[in-house]
Assembly symmetry: C2
Homo-oligomer: 401 residues x 2
């Protein structure tokens, strides 16, 4: 195991120091890189020692790494990812469980577990990481960090290991909003001015109903405070009203995204696993069995439905809308508690019902560390229309500060 020593966050695969390439708006900031994103001269593990040993070290950084270094940031290490980034809990069979600094007896969330732990522990200002089904948003929520998943394909994926090409995004976890804002603007190549102010704060009722009562209560209170301060009236809306069809929020997950994700994962990591038969961690092995035996042709209608949902959801957004809901329906589970199918389902099903909204609609989402539930952090999410990433960041500045 190549886990770095003397690491109270249990987040680092390797510590090093890549100095900035130029001065820029990220001067003085330190960042870590999730271990599915290439760093020149270091083997990328994808959360799997077998994958790491079967692949050579890249000669080039991922393009997104160079963007950050060229904007003044300093890269201080490579951090743990869940095995093949195919998890939301952050308990790696191989690399252990990175520390959730604000709830040390609980999981950090995954798959960007080391990213979250390195920032939450105060070792880095931000971390460059990836999100498909919630891998940035879930750790942001459970560790009390800012996290952004941008619109699909707005940030370059060159040098990021292929995962679920129609779903995967590159984004950031950060300890402060202004750090998230600056790092994301660099990655997005975003210099838009003349951005409209938010006028519609839409509260997605289905997500509140799925959430634990304590999470729901905290979210309603925080949203009311935003409404009071901004003078914008909250607009409670159901998912059925958003898409103009009689369907629950879970349609995004169960009649679309999950099947698309599984089918695409078969073609990326699945092919490699079938060819190389690597050792698999116990939890991943259980999840992968569903991937291996998955009949994608039987669900092509669900996969096609993603396009339909994308269109209906996006038609709802105007240039001055944000849609809000708790990022996760629950606080972080206790470490080691996700060891039965029942416990896994109780965590994953409601979580993925919520995270699938932005996933299926290719939308930018920011999780803000605004809720505290029974002593644990939970995030409040803000979502904007497709490619309205700059508007979303600007809206948060307006609404929260």
């Amino acid at each position: 195991m190549s886990i770095a020593t003397n690491d109270p966050s249990n987040a680092f695969i390797e510590h090093f120091d890549l100095p900035p390439l130029c001065e820029g708006i990220l001067d003085g900031l330190k960042f870590t890189v999730k271990d599915n994103i290439d760093l020149a001269g270091y083997r990328t593990s994808y959360g799997s020692p077998t994958w790491r040993d079967a692949h050579v070290a890249p000669v080039h950084n991922a393009l997104c790494v160079d963007q950050l270094l060229a904007a003044g940031a300093r890269c201080i290490g490579k951090v743990v990812a869940d095995e093949f980034t195919y998890s939301l809990d952050g308990e790696s069979f191989y690399f252990g469980t990175p520390r959730n600094a604000k709830a040390p007896d609980r999981v950090p969330g995954g798959s960007s577990s080391g990213s979250a732990a390195s920032v939450a522990g105060g070792f880095a200002d931000f971390s460059l990481c990836t999100d498909s089904g919630g891998s940035i948003r879930v750790p942001a929520s459970l560790c009390g960090l800012w996290g952004m998943r941008p619109s699909l394909h707005r940030v370059s994926e060159a040098g990021v290991l292929p995962f679920q090409p129609s779903v995967s995004t590159v984004g950031v976890l950060a300890d402060r909003f202004d750090v998230l804002d600056r790092a994301m603007r660099v990655l997005l190549n975003e210099h838009t001015t003349n951005i409209p102010a938010p006028k519609h704060i839409v509260v997605l009722q289905d997500a509140l109903e799925i959430a634990d009562p304590a999470v729901r209560g905290q979210a309603e209170t925080a949203l009311q405070q935003i409404a009071d301060r901004s003078g914008i009236t909250l607009e409670p809306v159901s998912f059925a009203e958003i898409i103009g069809e009689d369907a629950p929020l879970n349609a995004c997950n169960m009649e679309g995204l999950r099947d698309l994700q599984t089918a695409e994962f078969q073609s990326t990591v699945g092919n490699w696993i079938e060819a190389c038969k690597p050792e698999l961690g116990a939890t991943f092995a259980m999840a992968y069995e569903n991937v291996r035996t998955f009949d994608r042709v039987a669900v092509l209608d669900n996969i096609a439905n993603c396009e339909h949902l994308f269109k209906r959801i996006n038609a709802f957004f105007t240039e001055d809308t944000v849609v809000c809901f708790p990022t996760t329906p629950k606080k972080a589970p206790l470490k080691g508690s996700l060891n039965t199918l029942e416990a896994v389902m109780e965590f994953y099903d409601p979580t993925m019902t919520i995270t699938a909204f932005s996933g299926v609609a290719r939308l930018p989402e920011v999780s803000a560390p605004m809720l505290t539930v029974e002593g644990c952090p939970v995030g409040l999410s803000f979502v904007a229309g497709h490619y309205q990433d700059a508007y979303l960041l600007n809206a948060l500045k307006t609404l929260i500060y």
Copy 2:
């Protein structure tokens, strides 16, 4: 060499017969698959025997292949791609030059050279292939076929080898418009109804000026016929008018896309080449030397400019606009003539100036086989706004039939 025998098209790597998985709107149609797209049980070569031998056969088809098989089409073979799909000419050092049936002494164009030859030669109704810098559009133009590059990331890339993630698309070459239309609708999961009719036929003047006089003359005649028949007045517009800034069309290529493509190619194929030092064909080796020594950090401003150009170009489109221009500025070069730097530049520079328009703006483009220049085919291109793929197909039906 594993080139199929008894193949007058010189297009096939392997002949086989994968029957349809279901009945559907592609019943009775035969297709080929470019050799950078996975077919279960066959090694994918990426146009490079060294790559092929270094990788195992995939267990799963690419998702896009399964979509076509499930819609009633039959897959009849794997066809030649240029080395690492990094070329527009279609003369493979390893697999030879697939036959341009309508201009047999000329190159078929690349990198989807085998795709074009298998369709132009009458062996397949359509071919599943990819386009980043023009790899569908250029062979469509030079071989007299229909070709569509969809909006960026509208078709799943799971099981398609990573190339230039911010630019690459999966699309189709076909012998008839109705085949292109049906195959693309399957890949796009597109069932939109209530599509507006085209009202604005915009003619991009910069592209006409770059084109050879004979190509320009033919394009102007064909466009006038479309205008006369449809009753829609042609609107000549310069690129500067489209983006509202004083810049030539070549800004898309030279102040944006080409640098983004080179940087992203470093991180995908480049890393592998540097690690494995494979044998490289002479032409590719020459091109790759520029990739290897490319300083991406020095051009990050150009890469960022892609986002700016995307926004400006897309702001020009309404829901009833098509922008038209010759797909390529020239007819196909003679086989074997692209053997000096001067000849290569004379073909590539004006071609990529035109193809970069849709590339940088992530737009759908269809090349229609409508021009004949000195006995050779040349395509006429139609471009619509981002994600207006269904509108574009519909507009062509209205304008051309």
